[in-house]
Symmetry: D2
Subunit: 500 residues, 4 copies
């Protein structure tokens, strides 16, 4: 029912599944005459958080309007005809890379429900660690789930709540949810934002022409020229409501027991856009610091520092500044790579990495090269890139990774491969890993080096300042679905299979 | 999300809304290895009952599969790639012209729900006269309605039923429904068929290779070479179940209080395909009898009998045989007219009827013409056709209509215009109507003439043998939504507006 | 580069290639403000002459405009956005079923060329029997052929002509062409119409608001409300030119040596629309006469006369009127059959004829049936239809064909199968043919019966009044390509293969 | 006839036409079993040279095959079904941004012609300065031009040549052409490469598995793993021919009078990919040298060097290395910007530059910023970027441009705006320009600085080593069309307007 997405992007053209995927970005605005247009622009700025589909819901004072499309924001939501179908001055939007649920349109958020008290739409980034357990409970009592999205569980909990106000129903519902999430909800008059108790996923508040905006990253504020107000705090629910006199009231609630914030480190390492501020810290600066710390921890005698584009670039700049070795674009990225580059033959499959990247021979040949990458997941891409650099005439190739080794799965919205496919789990030690990828030397940033780069201080083992279970195994919440064994076959959430 | 339907058909290219529309056709089969293919063929044979969208659900022993597409059956369901996504030996399908609900894909049937007891899919032809009333009741108790289809209400009633068996839940649900319907349901092992207590909408049972089939008309049995077994009786529920040994059990239940059957007369007048048997009577023969009775009731001295294609052809043959006046194709139908013939200018709008029909001048010029049509709704098309016949040189144009005047709305699945737009309501008497359409004479078949043509006997005013409220105002069921005033704005069932 | 055509029509859904195909229809108008819209309407009326692609060229006083699209006229040319790209008050259009050349867009007519004297566009129906011979000659002298259409040869001959006026160049070109054609050409001020010396293909002249129209059949005049003026005579060239004062001059020329007209009989038997007049004779009346003569020549004792829809209907009416046997719609045609009904499995392939046609059991069962068809090409469809009628319970099935047996190929624009695939060539006598198709009796109309039905007189063997070589082998022109053996592999006209 | 291209890229999303456009890339290979696949890969590597359309022609030993599609290479040519339509072991391909001719599919190269001596296909990058003059001459003598591409003129000259061998005909044709071009031709057995006498446009020869390849840049050799052999020399024609024994002969001819090579400087400044070698020089190194020379010529006291991505990055690295000021990514580019980002409202139009770029506030705020860009055309983008940097808190913004001011139009394949729209022509002096764009200081690289960066030596005014007329007005060839005034309305090459 939908033409295939025809874009290439860095994450999608991943021949070996050798990257991590963030699932979503959210954006909402209340009280602005261009609500849908601003939401489309905000989602465009958050496109790196999910390229599979996007949806927007608006309310025009009388009726809710909904548009959902597979593909990039720019493919659909810049068409005046589409925006014209989203009138009104309240809107929330969502761009998604699916972690749970198939990629069917029925799973694309925001999800909408008509309640007795009126319509409500919700959109969230993150994942609930007790979503399946709750899903089974509500189906057993007569609910019909139309999607396989775990967000629909929240919607049912809202619909079934005994409270009369939509705010109380919303809080009633999210109190039952466990995991990491940044969630937006909208009713006919309200825009509600909520962040999980630990603050795993990011969510910021901004302001444009005096109207409140909530979005996943500050870059979505910048694109519309909005002012950054503050981060939504962990465990906080902010309810903005349009009053009869046209003013907007803002109520702040903290329904959960207060615990210290632990934002996800991978937002700094890989997901967030470098120009964003996450929990008040510049992502770019954090990454450059990772490169600086990496150069201090694992120096190397070389002729040139080359980033693996685009993720490794800020760390490579830091590494070069710290080490004094010249920074050069030794790998050129092809901007025209997208999803439709189907590999027709085995022969082309071999070109995989060259379709995306090519060696800049003039800066490589005869040189000792330090390649700086943001992270290594399975290592298959590293193998190909190192081979490409050697083919271009490098005399030595040293790999420096601006984050620690990854050992554990994520359950908060990052799509990780099976743990036994992770490079760190496949090879016992650094030497074996280095031999496998074919480098002359290999070093990862230490966990303390990473903590210092992002937050200025070493990891506090008794109360870690960040979410870091992929490196350490220390999960910040309960994992009910996992331990309750409700996830016998987590891939088959639904009995119904439907084409996307 | 869906390319516009690109077909022209008789009903759709209706410049003035001057026809009635049937809403749906259903087909289901249990235990056959080619279940989806046979369902696609059956729906193709039922295409005249709804051209807007079609859906099929199948079950492969492990998982349910669903395909829904806007457009004709042949546009999608004959693609091997689509059928390959519908494996299994149970399937039900639905082809639809929407009467209630928008034309969004989320409203296309069959509708599916995952219950605690397993998945269930339902599809129906008809309309519930208490659907909105029930919808509001279940939303008030925490249900979330994802579609605006009144079929979803049935699904929720099944999900909420306290019974444990799916059959009992199904019967529990339809017992609460009022109106006219022919409904199919399927679970992992069962195919269930149900017809409303009065038997307004048609539903027949067939058999292919020993496997049961249910479908709206016998023409869907003929296309797959299946044998007609019997009509599903009014108020009957038939449950076919696949047994562990591969055999199929058939259970017949009659949950409703028995009342006499009153099939809808318009199936004979206009909707059903002429080669179908409805309630055991040949539709073609009934139509020819209408023409014979019309010639007896309202003879005319003329040179040629010309049908208004294609609906009027059987009655015109009957009229010619009874009157002895030669039958000629005085109007030629253009087979290439479809939905996409957008009229770009006011000038082209005037060509409306000529795009579909043209006068066969050689058989018209200088002749006294009897035009035989199946029915007259608003009369706007009649005006244009009569003008076209006069332009082609006819000396006289007499209209003979093979059914009575239409005065009343339908609430059982036929899409009727506002009553005050009906020709019979706009003009007080036959003479005024005749002048308006520009004919030399005008006559309608009497209600008794119609009853005799279809059933062999006159109308029994105390216990009418057929559903005939559009002619008589005698509705065969309660009209709860209408009289309960729950339909304040029946066009806005949902608060959500979504593109189709 | 073009989405597949998504329409079903009678000719295209031809599982066995068991029909003949006409190739084209043409329409042109000079001096009318709605030139393109009228041309689109005219082509819609001529849609039965070619459903694969359509093109229109217009001139707006400054520039020529061209639109070409695969598919039906109504798919594209009724879109206001498309018509807006065709401004001006001169336009010619073409709808095509390809006989020579691949179905690539580059072959879709009208073809346009920029000459030193200005632009010219041409469109024609028919085929040149010396097209390949001339094509090779002009390529040898430096011309570049961009299409595989034989019309392009005409364009090159015009471009190379030494004459200065476009009219003289046009006449210079067509004088070199041999075969059957109805051709339109347009320049910045002229609309030119030409018909081949024998008058094989039809072409009529009409008038709307005082502006000249040329088109293949009168039905294209009727749809726009234009008046029929006369047929273009065989061998005639009519040049209409817009004068500086806004008036239109009309010049009639006869460059070829005068010979008697011999219009193609198959226009009457099958191709032309029944409501058209061809060479002054009603097609419908001719077909009914064929049925009358057939009933006289080959009467049969039966209960019911059933047409094979839609081609056999007028002859069946004639047969019934002559024989006194009742005419009934014993076969119902499915209007929703189109090109996209891909047969997914061998099983569905068997449903072939049932997808298009179904037996009206109530009028067939227990009866002796006379089936009347317009013609038999290969006979494969007849086999299936007769079987379907027997399955529906007919006690006898008699076939009456309203034209003679076909033995020979056409080279004037009708797409005939290889002669050895024709039923008449595969079986020595009528009895063998009757056994093959499975009928109780079989009869064809005699050649004299056909001549009388169409023209009122028997065939004059010394000077036949019609083109009839498919029946008789008597070709009305030279066949240079065929006899000059330039058609070594007539399927490969071009060295270039290109997707449509 | 073609779905709109749905990609965003740097050049296309040019709200103000404020970049220069290269027109084309070419690739050809002879004798390789994967000819079409390799050609598709090569064109993908050359995608930056033209994103509007791409075409490939192959020859399979019996027939030529052609595919042409609007859009990116990866949109179509990686589909196995498309490549399967391009069998054979000879292929040439072309990717295009149109400079002359509309963007209709008929203008997409390669162009093919059937000559008496067999088929020939040609593709070229560049522009002929006497193309229109020749076009008019050949039309006057009876040729029909089907495209508005000036390449078609070459095809006609080949077709009309009196020589018998295709090589001689090709040389005969290009001898008549004047301008800048890199041209490929293929026949059934030959692959021919030709470069214009001055060597304006680049063309290199490579080798894969012993089979010859020609392409616009070395990056297209790298992607398929081919070896660089040498540049095609200015004025050289290289003819590779498949011999009956399977070997490939290579013939080198120099039909033109030898003159010194003058490659286009803009290839180094902007067009070529940084990892390519052009005329034996690394493009990346040349650009870094430009930045080094710029820092020497126009130093500035600042805190941070920020490239305008992506064009300015190598020069910014050079500038930072030379000046010792840290290099930082102060502007982040959005990779998801493409052509479909239609601006629905005036409000969104203002977001123009922010859709593509955003300021990295953490590295900008409170800093003195040196922005390094590759070139300035109209300056409209510079205005917006400088404003964005100031909005992000920069205390000073200094612009350094790594090429001289642009004053003159190009006629060799670079699409330049009207000269009076160029920033350098709109403002008399550097100060006025600086004020207009809103910078604190502005400096351009000198022409000698550019010559030294690319070739190591200053410009030789008597015999300039490079093509540099856009800076200097010194055109390296005659400009016949321009001076012959044949280009009265150069936008209207054809009388025919056709949708793309």
């Amino acid at each position: 029912m939908e033409s295939p997405v025809t874009h290439w992007n860095d994450d999608d053209f991943d021949l070996n599944g050798d990257t991590l995927h963030e699932e979503c970005g959210v954006f909402g605005i209340l009280g602005h005459g261009d609500a849908s247009t601003l939401t489309a622009l905000g989602l465009h700025a958050l496109q790196h958080r999910g390229q599979e589909a996007a949806g927007i819901v608006s309310f025009d004072g009388r009726q809710f309007h909904q548009e959902k499309h597979m593909g990039l924001v720019g493919d659909h939501y810049t068409d005046p005809a589409v925006l014209a179908k989203l009138p009104g001055n309240i809107a929330i939007g969502h761009t998604r890379y699916s972690t749970t649920g198939e990629v069917a349109l029925r799973n694309v958020q925001p999800l909408f429900a008509e309640l007795e008290v009126g319509g409500i739409a919700i959109a969230h980034n993150g994942n609930f660690t007790n979503g399946l357990t709750l899903r089974r409970q509500i189906i057993a009592t007569g609910a019909i789930c139309q999607s396989t999205s775990d967000s629909e569980v929240v919607l049912h909990l809202i619909a079934r709540s005994r409270h009369s106000s939509s705010t109380d129903r919303f809080i009633d519902a999210i109190r039952q949810m466990e995991g990491g999430y940044a969630m937006l909800a909208m009713t006919r008059t309200k825009l509600i934002a909520a962040r999980d108790p630990v603050g795993i996923r990011p969510l910021v508040m901004g302001e444009l022409d005096g109207k409140p905006i909530f979005c996943s990253e500050t870059c979505a504020l910048d694109i519309v020229g909005a002012k950054y107000v503050r981060d939504v705090e962990n465990g906080e629910v902010i309810i903005c409501e349009m009053q009869p006199d046209g003013s907007i009231s803002i109520e702040e609630r903290k329904p959960a027991r207060p615990v210290p914030e632990r934002p996800c480190l991978f937002e700094y390492v890989y997901f967030a856009r470098p120009d964003s501020m996450v929990s008040g810290r510049s992502v770019y600066t954090a990454r450059k610091n990772m490169g600086i710390n990496l150069a201090k921890e694992s120096p190397v005698d070389a002729d040139v520092v080359v980033p693996v584009p685009d993720g490794g670039t800020p760390a490579a700049i830091g590494f070069a500044q710290q080490s004094g070795i010249p920074f050069e674009l030794g790998i050129i990225r092809n901007h025209y790579v997208g999803r439709t580059f189907i590999e027709p033959t085995q022969q082309i499959r071999a070109f995989g990495v060259r379709l995306k990247h090519s060696a800049n021979r003039a800066e490589i040949a005869g040189k000792r090269v330090v390649l700086v990458d943001d992270s290594i997941v399975r290592g298959t891409t590293s193998v190909k890139i190192i081979q490409m650099i050697r083919d271009a005439g490098a005399t030595e190739v040293h790999i420096r990774v601006a984050s620690p080794m990854i050992f554990h799965s994520d359950y908060y919205g990052i799509d990780t491969p099976d743990p036994d496919k992770l490079l760190a789990n496949q090879y016992g030690d650094l030497d074996a890993m280095c031999r496998y990828i074919g480098a002359d030397s290999l070093a990862f940033l230490s966990i303390d080096g990473l903590y210092q780069a992002v937050g200025g201080e070493k990891r506090n083992p008794k109360a870690p300042q960040f979410t870091d279970h992929y490196f350490t195994g220390d999960y910040p919440t309960q994992l009910t679905d996992l331990h309750g064994r409700t996830m016998s076959d987590p891939k088959q959430i639904s009995l119904l299979k439907e084409a996307g």
